[in-house]
Amino acid sequence: MQVAPAVELESVSFAYGGGETVLREVDLRIGTGEFVALAGPNGGGKTTLLRLVLGLERPAAGAVRLYGEPAERFSARDTLGYLPQRASLALDAPVTVREIVAAGTLPARGVFGPLRRADRARVDEAIALVGLAERTDDQLRLLSGGQQQRAMIAKALAGRPRLLALDEPTTGVDAESQEALGELLARLHDDLGVTILYVSHEFGAVEHHVERLVLVRGAIVFDGPPSELPGLWHDPSHVHV
């Protein structure tokens, strides 16, 4: 039996509120267990593409499937881990790393499910995986940008995702932490077999770890190993159709 790809887009077009077309006739297949970077200039449609994949937006034309099911009606949502852009995570309240990561176990437990001993163990395990065991009870706002992203990755991992999607995870993160983030994701991919979709306008942090690089600018303008990327496009601000 043929296994459905993790992500499949067929002739997908999209426009916000009937405005200008953001994506046109996009075809994309991402297999289970792949580590793929979706890159491109700001406004090129890569975040929109990710939102379509996650079922947060519906295509104007074409089909988006997750593991063979229509993305907006995907039945196993608790197997999806998602890190939105950091700006949408601005919290006023003091919240600890443990509280953040515990929230990641909710989809599997259900809204009425208590946090059992096994869930607590998963929380500790996820925090240890991202190297924040020493900071478990610290407030998120006292952590560096890179550590905050690690905490959010731990939250996603606590749900034991099959697919992990990250949107601009290196925004506001220093170069050293970006490298560390790339290495962490590579380790999670290798050790846990998680399918990873990494969306960013700068892909330097994962260039040496991803198997595929997909450049998006209204359409897919490059899809292949980073080593085959034409030199001109190494700086995504120089992407031209």
């Binding site: 309240a93 919240v95 953040i100 909710l106």
Partner: protein, 267 residues
Amino acid sequence: MFESEFMRLAFAVGAVIGVLAPAVGFFLVQRRLSLIGDGIGHVAFAGVALGILLDVSPILTALVAAVAGGVAIEWLRSRRLAAGDQALALVFYTGIAAGVVLVSLAGSLDVNLFQYLFGSILTVTRQDVVVVALLGLAGLLCIAVLYRAFSAVVIDEEGARVSGVPVGFLNVVLAVLAALTVALSLQIVGVLLIAALMVLPVTAATRIGWSLASTMLLSIGLGLGSVFLGLTISYYADLPPGGTIVLVAAGGVAVAAVGGALQSSTR
């Protein structure tokens, strides 16, 4: 003070509201929906007016109107039919306008209306205490059961939505809880000031809390303290209870701001 029956009843109702209002407000504030209580309060005013016009319990009609208003705001917001603040403004102004028209029709544009606008402890009956206690405990039980789910939405609404958490359902439940809080607080604090009791203790607690759970518990403690201290001051100084409670809560924010600043400087 407690030799007076009306003060005992006021403290009983105040104890429920002092816990419930900040507990519900905690999630509203974190989601930057602090003014939703105000919007629902104004719709509750239309409910009170309808009760006066129809000669049925204004608290009951306020509860129905508040729930309808809370769900309407959430519906408009979630369907993106209006931005959050515009949805609030629409319901807010429609509520107060309907209230004024209905009260005028009932011929009750008089001093009795003030008890619902700003609260009056003299109006609390034993039957009210039973209703407030039962509905209030139901609300608190709901928050206790859904605490982790509400927290997950507060921490990352979009991430929760992607992972299949029923965010829409939780938002409606929160709107209904806010409406319940407004209706139960009518007599003590009044529709115009109830939102303050949902927001100010949380604002204060956010400055001194060290985790989500501690901030929630501090909010409840400060809410309860504000109600008890406010009622006591209003009794001895012969001041309106709603206004006094809210001023005490505002004082709490000032003290917490100083405490928070000192905490940061010693860190």
